[in-house]
């Protein structure tokens, strides 16, 4: 047998935003179809990306397909710009597309997110791109794609209502706290990705275009601007979002989603904004929480 030949390495270079133009065109077509049929999962030929499946490959492909050289990109994971995955994805587009990036929600033209919707209301010149692990809202009720596609086609969502009803019968509550199913434009039931149900109302009548990308499952779906998005519920058990007993310990914000931070091993904990940009902006504006460091003037006064 001939010895394996190790030839010269190919010259490797990548297109703007990594994907080749043919692939971007294919993704854009899927996005257009998704916008035309709000909430419908459009199959698309997702590519392997240089980050693992489950890390946001769907969102990254959607972002790559809609990103232009003049865009300003913000990437958040769990509401924060500085979590490892957000940093990695932002770095990816800085490297492959050389676009400007920001942590400010108001400055961004495209925001890619995992698990949160920013607290600041979005505008009509912004696009919110969601990373989606399991796009099928019926998946955990019916594992087969052949079945679920049929259920969607027939608007047969009884299974989902039964599931929510059983929750109430068993626990007195709907036990779904995130990835809470919504009905889009009065037609398709959609998985909003694993955002806390706290964020669901922000999707309704949102001025920004909302795009959802699931890479491993090869699906894209969308909510066009100003579309009605209704969280599933019952007349006698209306949809309710989580409420926090205390305001943010750093900026004093109420009515926002908070992260619980464990401070010690004796039950010490604090609650702070999950949306780091929102929290920082408020602190800069002078808002204070119960655990804010003493203000500078106060320190000086004391001294």
């Amino acid at each position: 047998m001939s010895a394996p030949q190790v030839g010269s390495m190919p010259d490797i270079s990548y297109n703007f935003a990594y994907l080749d133009e043919q692939t971007k065109r294919m993704i854009r077509r899927a996005i257009l179809k998704a916008i035309a049929i709000p909430g419908y999962q459009v199959p698309f030929a997702a590519r392997e990306m240089p980050m693992p499946y489950g890390w946001g490959t769907g969102g990254v492909q959607v972002t790559a397909a809609v990103l232009g050289p003049d865009d300003v990109l913000k990437v958040i994971d769990q509401g924060a710009d500085d979590t490892t995955n957000a940093v990695a994805i932002r770095g990816f587009f800085e490297k492959t597309a050389k676009v400007a990036t920001t942590t400010s929600t108001t400055e961004a033209s495209i925001i890619q997110t995992r698990h949160r919707i920013p607290e600041t209301r979005l505008r009509d010149d912004q696009i919110l791109v969601y990373q989606v692990p399991i796009p099928e809202p019926l998946r955990f009720l019916e594992p087969r794609e052949t079945e679920t596609r049929q259920l969607h086609a027939l608007s047969e969502y009884g299974l989902m209502h039964v599931k929510l009803y059983e929750d109430i019968a068993r626990h007195g509550h709907i036990a779904t706290t995130y990835a809470y199913p919504v009905e889009v434009a009065g037609r398709y039931v959609m998985d909003p990705s694993p955002i806390p149900k706290f964020d669901n109302p922000k999707m309704d009548d949102c001025p920004a275009l909302q795009l959802f990308g699931a890479g491993r499952e090869k699906r894209i779906y969308a909510i066009p601007p100003h579309t009605t998005v209704r969280s599933l519920d019952f007349e006698d058990h209306p949809f309710r979002v989580q409420r926090f007993a205390r305001p943010c310990a750093l900026c004093g914000a109420t009515g926002v989603y908070l992260d619980e931070v464990l401070l010690d091993d004796r039950g010490g904990r604090m609650f702070v904004c999950s949306d780091t940009d929102y929290c920082t902006t408020r602190q800069e504006e002078g808002h204070r929480g119960e655990m804010s460091p003493p203000a500078r003037d106060a320190q000086e006064d004391a001294a």
Partner: protein
């Protein structure tokens, strides 16, 4: 005092730096070369090419080196590169009957045209650790021994063609000339056709297919398999160039092909005959080719009117979970932060516990 955690960027940079150091290992030792990987860890290279779906030994060797020997990570590197390559056409079906055969065994016939050719195999070795290999330059093969002379290979018709001449086995489906479905360029929808099934299995995880294939032997979708033939060797890749109006050979690839021969009782339309399960893998990997053939056959239960119910027969289950790059990504993504969702669950559990405690208190009073 808690300050919103910053510094993710720097931490990632440091982690990558540490990874690079660990990859290099002890700097007093020479770094392993791609030539060494490609010529001495050939079966690792073969697996990376097969499941990476890219036939390039140099890149596979590079990926193995970069991945510190983690083959699924290496497969992932190859896939991420492969996906950026343009597709300029599809080759004509490989003619494995015209293979330059390095190894060929049949379990169904003691002797057959072309004979049994054992070739490079672990099959008949005693699995005793060979301490002589611990010496840096000891190779097992005699130093300076002349390489085996490539004799003009006798014609080796495929066993299935020999049985087929008698009509005892189902014919392999004809090439209808249509452009085959490409799972790397279009989303798969179920049920799938044969090309899609075979492509998906060919890049599927070896361990996963091994376990599923094994399960068919233990009674979960039993199909009475015989290895009609396994052959490994080089096959010419031929491409039609429409602009030129003729076909050209663009090179050779090493592949392992397994034709599993399975019992079939016949039906109202078809008299009893043998059926096939098919496996084809880049490089030398008989375990994968055989497993693929077993699973491929099990997946055909509907077409052959067999009883369903075993895991290996469930098309959507088998095919949608066999990709190890997808699987490892989704399993390992659980390492990513999930504190937003966990917070929502914490809140619910606390609330429900408080309600139950209140109910109990009320009942006690």
């Amino acid at each position: 005092m808690y300050v919103a955690a910053k510094g993710g960027e720097k931490a990632i940079r440091n982690a990558h730096e540490l990874l690079a150091r660990r990859r290099r290992g002890d700097r007093t030792l020479p770094a392993v070369t791609l030539e060494q990987i490609a010529s001495q860890l050939t079966l690792a290279v073969d697996r990376v090419m097969a499941e990476g779906s890219l036939y390039d030994t140099a890149l596979a060797a590079l990926a193995i080196k970069q991945a510190r020997g983690d083959l699924i990570e290496a497969i992932f590197l190859i896939r991420a590169f492969r996906t950026t390559l343009p597709r300029f056409g599809s080759a004509r079906p490989l003619d494995t009957g015209a293979m330059l055969v390095r190894r060929r065994v049949s379990a169904t016939f003691k002797d057959l045209p072309g004979g049994q050719l054992l070739g490079p195999t672990f099959d008949y070795t005693h699995r005793l650790l060979d301490t002589s290999l611990a010496e840096a330059d000891a190779g097992g093969a005699e130093e300076g021994a002349p390489p085996p002379v490539a004799e003009p290979a006798p014609p080796m018709p495929r066993v299935t063609d020999l049985i087929g001449a008698e009509g005892l086995i189902e014919p392999s489906p004809r090439d209808d000339g249509a452009e085959p479905f490409d799972i790397t360029r279009a989303p798969v929808s179920y049920p799938v056709d044969r090309a899609t099934r075979l492509q998906t299995l060919a890049r599927g995880d070896e361990g996963y297919l091994l376990a599923l294939g094994y399960s068919t032997q233990r009674g979960y979708a039993r199909s009475h398999p015989f290895v009609g033939e396994i052959r490994f060797g080089e096959v010419e890749v031929v491409l039609d160039i429409p602009e030129l109006g003729f076909e050209v050979s663009i090179g050779e690839v090493e592949v392992t092909e397994c034709q599993m021969v399975n019992q079939f009782k016949g039906s109202a339309q078809v008299p009893p005959q043998f059926t096939r399960g098919y496996g084809l893998v880049f490089g030398q990997c008989e375990r994968k080719a055989m497993s693929m053939a077993l699973v491929e056959r099990a997946l055909r239960w509907q077409e052959l009117g067999e009883e369903p119910g075993a895991p290996a027969q469930d098309e959507e289950f088998v095919l949608s979970h066999c990709d190890n790059v997808q699987a490892t990504g989704f399993v390992e993504h659980l390492k990513l932060p999930h504190y937003v969702d966990f917070q929502a669950e914490l809140d619910l559990v606390r609330r429900m516990r408080a309600e139950i405690a209140a109910e109990r208190k009320e009942a006690a009073e």
